[in-house]
């Protein structure tokens, strides 16, 4: 029965999803590589067996499907560094959301909640996102849980390409003092280390004060302690960033900043500590006393100080608008090349995915996009999308609705 179901699904999803790796040759593109090589004019890209096989000029390959990309830009697929794609359908409808937990904290894994049939997936894929770092939302605890990585090809059988690859926490203004939050964080780390030492006794029924944590949560924190995974810290205030840097140094862990609206004030310090920053360049509202110093050139100040920046959108539904943020960062001083890196390779390298994705580079997964204009312009859109060397339809539910009503209005 199951086999029949799946084969029906494949039939329904059109031949584009067939399990045959076709050879594809993209000709005459303006290729933005997200590497030192920068932007290559008049370039051909050959895709064989789901990987980028060759990049060069005047490439040829027998029986390849050829797309003439003259006057088109090609970029690597964009990677959403911090979204809840696959975890929520309608923000205000709790039962359509799976991004937070009342029971766990640091040990919460979102992997089992991911919905590859969400309408957000084709929507954001058509916007240019081919891979998403899927994170839990801030819940009842300072620790929110762990992030996992999914490619957005929408297959029902899709598995995470990086399960529980980072832990997420928040630190800043709330009902509870931030000093109290820091104690909770410190307690978690101390408990995790003690738990590790006395694990065998605990297994034999020995007493252990878990406090606000479950064994699962402490096991997860141990992975951060052992530097197996980094800790994403959602925080905005410059002083809070400094406190978290001090904390990370005292425990010798890796952290990634997210939000970081005041990070520009301590750009040199963040650069010195080699801490990556996930940010939305357009988020310049001093929306609380944690982000009074928010400004439009946060991204370029950090980047130009040597900080690795990862550009996100604040909206999960429109995660692809990270591209608009990157374009605005360019308007406020970031180079186009660095803006593209902030949407691609910087995300891949920070999350350990750079062996596979993030650049137009021979040997990498053929996750790439053909654009009808400059990829950082809001007026541009994807024309073709490839994930693992397969062309994926650009059709979205939005376009189906559009076409129905264009016809009804006599505008088709």
């Amino acid at each position: 029965m199951k086999i029949i179901k799946y084969s029906l699904v494949f039939l329904f999803l059109s031949p584009l999803h067939a399990e045959i790796n076709e050879t594809i040759l993209i000709k005459n593109a303006t290729a933005m590589t997200a590497m030192k090589s920068g932007t290559l004019q008049n370039t051909d890209i050959l895709i064989v067996d789901g990987l980028i096989a060759k990049i060069g000029q005047n490439l040829d390959f027998e029986n390849a499907i050829v797309f003439d990309a003259t006057n088109h830009f090609v970029t690597p697929g964009l990677i959403a560094p911090h979204s809840m794609i696959g975890l929520q359908e309608i923000e205000l409808e709790a039962e359509t959301r799976d991004d937070s937990t009342d029971y766990f904290s640091s040990g919460f894994s979102i992997v089992d909640a991911y919905n590859p049939s969400s309408a957000l997936i084709p929507h954001n894929r058509t916007g240019g996102i081919t891979t998403a770092i899927v994170t839990p939302s801030s819940g009842h605890h300072v620790f929110s849980g762990m992030a996992s990585v999914f490619k957005l090809d929408g297959k029902l059988t899709e598995e995470s390409i990086g399960q529980d690859i980072a832990m997420v926490m928040s630190f800043g203004g709330s009902e509870d003092s931030r000093a109290s939050q820091m104690l909770l964080i410190k307690d978690g780390f101390i408990k995790a280390k003690n738990y590790h030492k006395s694990r065998s006794q605990i297994m034999r029924g020995g007493y252990f004060d878990f406090g606000y944590y479950t064994p699962r949560d402490l096991e997860a924190i141990l992975r951060v302690v052992n530097k197996e995974i980094p800790l994403i810290v959602r925080t905005d205030r410059a002083r809070d960033i400094l406190r978290m840097i001090a904390f990370s140094n005292s425990h010798e862990i890796d952290i990634i900043l997210a939000g970081a609206k005041e990070a520009w004030r301590i750009a040199d310090k963040i650069a010195l500590e080699s801490i990556p920053v996930i940010l939305d360049p357009m988020d310049n509202i001093p929306s609380s006393f944690d982000s009074i110093a928010a400004r439009m050139d946060n991204a370029s100040i950090l980047n130009n100080a040597g900080v690795k920046i990862l550009i996100t959108s604040q909206s999960t539904h429109n995660s692809y608008l990270s591209r608009q943020g990157a374009g605005n960062a360019v308007a406020y001083g970031l180079s186009e090349e660095d803006a593209l890196k902030a949407l691609t390779i910087n995300v891949a390298s920070v999350f350990g995915l750079d062996e596979r994705i993030g650049t137009l580079e021979v040997g990498k997964d053929a996750d790439l996009l053909i654009w009808d204009g400059h990829p950082l312009e809001v007026s541009s859109f994807t024309k073709k999308i490839y994930i693992d060397g397969k062309e994926i339809s650009t059709v979205t539910r939005s376009q189906r609705l559009r076409d129905r009503y264009l016809k009804k209005l006599g505008l088709d």
């Binding site: 359908e89 309608i90 923000e91 205000l92 409808e93 309408a119 957000l120 357009m282 988020d283 310049n284 509202i285 001093p286 929306s287 609380s288 006393f289 982000s291 009074i292 110093a293 400004r295 909206s315 539904h317 429109n318 608008l321 608009q324 374009g327 605005n328 360019v330 308007a331 009808d372 950082l376 312009e377 809001v378 007026s379 541009s380 859109f381 939005s398 376009q399 609705l401 559009r402 009503y405 264009l406 209005l409 505008l411 088709d412």
Partner: protein, 472 residues
Amino acid sequence: MKNIPENKVSNVLIILLLLIHTQLAYGESESELINQVYQSTYKPDTSPRILIKNATILTGTGELLENSSILIDSNRIVSIGNDDTNNAEIIDAKGKWITPGIIDIHSHMGVYPAPSLRGNSDGNEATNPVTPHVWAEHSVWTQDPQFTLALKGGITTFHVLPGSANLFGGRGVTLKNTRSVTVQGMKFPNAPYTLKMACGENPKRVYGNRDSEPSTRMGNVAGYREAWIDAQSYMQAKALSEKLSDEEESDQEQELFKRDLKMETLSGVLKGEILIQNHCYRGEEMAVMIDIAKEFNYRVTTFHHAIEAYKVADLLADNGVCAAMWADWWGFKNEAYDMVWENVAMVDQAVNGTGCAIVHSDSAVGIQHLNQEASKALSAGLRAGLEISKARAIQWITLNPAKALGISDQVGSLEVGKMADLVIWDGDPFSTFSKAEKVFIDGHLSFDATKKNGFIRTDFDLGIINPEGDRL
């Protein structure tokens, strides 16, 4: 840019007394009295004569003029395409674009200011579903730092609405993006009042969660109709009372007619003096709201957040109702699920291009980049095969919102005699990479990106990060 000194309490009192006296003496209507008492005190100084030349001009009237010029003087637009340099300061705008000042028809700046604190969260009087008696202008905090951020994005006029918790949320106010301690000093002179109404999920969620009416969409509709019936009765009773007081001698005893602030706003709508700005997402609800307007003989000026306007674009065009839309927001609640990227373009093109499309922000971030929002909406329309020019699309954030706010005789396009509100962009305003370089309001250079102190900071921005510096 300087404003006439204000806040002279004694002057205000004298004017008030004079007005009351005038009213008693000449029998002016109460609504006229109210308009006079609460009227704008914004009066810009006389602005210099400035010729901006060699620019690409999107006039807002549907034209694109290449390599053209615009002359402004004494707060007004004097000529377009005429290089009369006589006594004028000259700005060479070669390679630059000029648009009318950008207008956002849907903002909560000032009533939901930054930083977002309980102490200044004043946008929703969510204590009763029918609050047409509250006025957004009485909540506006004039030192909201979001105002200057919007100015940097080319916003010269914006409309502040109450929130959408209520069926009738209260009166909206149109403000000029000028710095003033008083809200009266920001009010757009003689702009009509508006009334915020809200369809759909928000009222039914807010009151349904309290087990009170409305808790359903049908409860919403009953609520609107009951209020309009009340307003009709009120108008009849008031007319009768006025008739009686005309007939009877003034020294005779008569029952005093008590003004009702809720009913004053609603009757202002029924008299055509107050414009309806109706938060409404779904196609079927827009159609119902148009029916209600017909039942009580008023007009809906604009549906706001009209995610599904494309589904009823012909109905909107046929009824002369504008739709104010986002380029791409969706999914934050169920009624926002059926978004299409082409919504704005489809509304614009409906019924042989007679639709009235507006791009709005409802966001302190979005308002800073309304040109980019228009660009996204335009490019989506072009991809769908609709033929729309930039010259037309710029109207989505200039002339069309001006019309829907009843101020298009003053702003919204670059035409001789209109207020000299305009933006010089450092490139094509439909490009992500372009920024507003100079913003003029009533002929005064209100923002200049080429100068560090090229704008007036709000009180909030002073010394807030460190005592000796400014926030921006």
